[in-house]
Symmetry: C2
Subunit: 575 residues, 2 copies
Amino acid sequence: MGKLLRINTREKKFTFEETPGAYAGLGGRALTSKMILDEVPATCHPLGKNNKLIFAPGIMSGSPAADSGRLSAGAKSPLTGGIKESNAGGLVSQKLARLGITGLILEDKPETDDYSMIVINKDGVEILPAGDLVKAGNYEIMEKLWAKYGKNTGILSIGQAGEQCLKGASIQQADMNGKPGRAHGRGGLGAVMGSKKIKAIVVDDKGAPRIEIKNPDAFKAANKRWVEMLRNHPVTGEGLPAMGTAVLVNVINEAGALPTKNFRTGRFEDVNKISGEFMAETIEKRGGITTEACHPGCVIKCSNVYHDKDGKYLTSGFEYETIWAFGAHTTISELDQIATLDRLCDDFGLDTIETGVTLGIAMEGGMIPWGDGKAAIELLSKVGEYAPEGKIIGSGAQFTGDALGVTRIPVVKKQAFPAYDPRSCKGQGVTYATTSMGADHTAGYGVTANILGVGGSIDPTKKEGNVELSQGLQIATAAIDAAGLCLFVAFAVLDNEDGLPTVAQMLNAQYGLELTPDDILELGKSILRNEKEFNKKAGFTKVDDQLPEFFQEEFSPHKTTWDFTLDDLQKTLDF
Amino acid sequence: MGKLLRINTREKKFTFEETPGAYAGLGGRALTSKMILDEVPATCHPLGKNNKLIFAPGIMSGSPAADSGRLSAGAKSPLTGGIKESNAGGLVSQKLARLGITGLILEDKPETDDYSMIVINKDGVEILPAGDLVKAGNYEIMEKLWAKYGKNTGILSIGQAGEQCLKGASIQQADMNGKPGRAHGRGGLGAVMGSKKIKAIVVDDKGAPRIEIKNPDAFKAANKRWVEMLRNHPVTGEGLPAMGTAVLVNVINEAGALPTKNFRTGRFEDVNKISGEFMAETIEKRGGITTEACHPGCVIKCSNVYHDKDGKYLTSGFEYETIWAFGAHTTISELDQIATLDRLCDDFGLDTIETGVTLGIAMEGGMIPWGDGKAAIELLSKVGEYAPEGKIIGSGAQFTGDALGVTRIPVVKKQAFPAYDPRSCKGQGVTYATTSMGADHTAGYGVTANILGVGGSIDPTKKEGNVELSQGLQIATAAIDAAGLCLFVAFAVLDNEDGLPTVAQMLNAQYGLELTPDDILELGKSILRNEKEFNKKAGFTKVDDQLPEFFQEEFSPHKTTWDFTLDDLQKTLDF
């Protein structure tokens, strides 16, 4: 069992402790959520000294298991006021695991504005002044830190948004090219890191031993089957590698579930200008990279590098949700403008979903015109200038809507909706409403059975079966997040009878355990229960588990409305 | 029994209906809170079509009873998300009562930006275009409307803040001079009026009959005793008429409860520059008015008119809370600057408490320097310019703190604290924490027994007795608000055994009833229960009935902390 590394950001001191028995076998989201429930007072101010920012590699991270390199970040969220887990690819998860660190916990906060950075390697921990990085964006930070600490070093950092403690602030991770293309995007965790005046965390595992595997042969066999499953599934083996997650643009538009002009219709007339097909073609023409892993050991490779008209790097990790948020939602239809908005978010350290939805709300409130990409870029740039407009936009959709007197704000628990309309994809809507995270597609991806025909088929426009769908997915997803696995393994798990058993085999081989698939689902349930308990202590009630009232409006093309009552929805987390 | 006047702001139509039996005997806050509970969905958006803005004169308003001319305004609050009643003096309450209108209810909202104004007189109701008033401040509006409809017409209007639907927006009332010196300040009700695109309401009772008094002789006798009590009490007979509410500046500072520099200490070193004594002296020197009624029939006369250095009108209704918020709280010590800030708030239609506290938060967050009155005036002016800074500042303390990453924000239920530190005046703190209104001194004014020695004496620095104190005051206050009586009658009621019986006698004489003092308190309890029920439906829990965590810090000069637990506090509304 590994160690917990606690860093007191006020005293600038650290301690290692043996991971206590209560946390044995917990990694990723299982660990962050349990520790937050145990150690963070639920009613504390998210930016105060009593909040903690916890990073935890999944329990499979660092092992050779395919797609197991996701890192969970957790805290009380400045955006939602509830518990938050946000996970990302990048290089840190596997390196922390190889350094024997189960959890990295940032505690307390400094009373002054002196920023620090943290360097973690096999020799220990350094907490260094980071004054030279203040007001720097993530591109500059990562370039400097790779230059200093070497290529392929794991980096977590915050840009100007996190420094300003804005509710939309992300924590970015260096991707395989040393660019801030991966993000712990949701829930404003960058603001928590900013409140603790930590500008960057460098994680270097050079010289660290490999992860111990108790039964290497069994592990190898299970992992072989695992890779085969991922490569053979049409979504993870074909769609995602070819076009990245943007493969979904046409699929979701076709399904009438692509929220357009702030959730007014489900189809975008300029969809061809922002589709995955068009993006892949553009990338190829300009010499970018259409398919790239977000962390070593990924066999799906849904990331990418997008070049500008002159063939120069513009952005990376350019994803479906981002393209939708800045595109169909705002009706901006020029992909280069959307890519520029993505780059600005990565640089300032802002969640692209939250920020894209927010720009749509700024349009709704008359701050900038609908579909005006230039105006959107100019407005978003204000975040990097520490200007008042930036403080509004960087604080997310609910905040911006409130500033502008807008009532049509697509949020749950103050977190902006992702790219699936809940009236045309009701399984997803149930997840938005009921997850403790606030509107979050990754918490239980109902798009699977609703639209993609993965794991069965449930009518996306009707109530029937969608509470059960969301419930099952939320449980499974929590377990996947605890393992450090990429959410996209769910496709293979859902469509292969031996999917979950194979995960159990890898875990058993790695740790010398005898887990069954049911044990894994039980872990998922316990995570959801812990998160719900924290939120209850923080003052959440069933009233918070519902969509905004404007979703009762009829929605085209399927003429559907959101028709779940509070009591319908409460069944989702009743297990 | 009078009539309910319902105005559909979308259709621009009105209806009169007999006040239903369920609302018999309910006026002011009793009526607004009951109707909101009955008719407004608790989870609706406060600026959406399902919210209602309700005005109700007190049940004694329009009668000759001294100090009975307060008007209640109620709605779901855009600031707190809970139920709100905010009452004000001015001319409207008595005129509505004389027109036989028990409640004026604004419903629905227009889909376009066309503003209207409403004119109510003995001949009926007109809903007129108000395009010429758009973007006008309340000074201009009231001047135009008095010019058109005659002096002493009752006016309710919103300025630029209400038009922008900002959470700090007030509804202003014309005072005795036709200036916007009286305010339904708290809870952002101006934003609700703005969302319904009603710029002004004109109420003219010319030609209306007098209020019917069933037993004129008994009424006259009781009112005589009532006036005597008010005139003989040292607070309402001496302190308030001489210096207005600003008499409290020195008193509360002396008690160590004047929150200074965002609640860091309880005494302000420049207190002499902002005291009631200094204000009264300045007013006299410059030819202003030191004592003036806020509505006809007031015998306390705590309002005033404040002139500038050249002897010209600068502001009116210049009160203790305002002087504290812009003064000690921000450490601005120049009274003319504070008066200018007050005037700007009246003109834009902003709550002075919320806005003053907000400017302190802007200083806390480094937006402007501490104590810099010029910078504060410049920043506040942005509200009138519809600028981004104004949208932040006009949205209140919690919002501004969030925009700036400030954790030290003195709010309950997102509403800013008034001018008494809860650690040096714990009875007041209990009220802040537990009233359904959000931090509100008028909901249960514990300063009475804590500091002023009115209605007994309870140590303001200790827990003992303060839950009971707040409970009793909250019940009595709700009844006072239902009657349309000024809160300041509480001093006389608390210190005279025949105080409450005299109120009962006036009510019985007016309506031919046989109410006892207990019946009046029972009414108060039912109001509090209704409000709590609404908030519960809106998702509030006991977690919302607590002060921010920074009040656990030790506070000078009495070295006290806020030490009430959630469970201690829940006893307050347990009756």
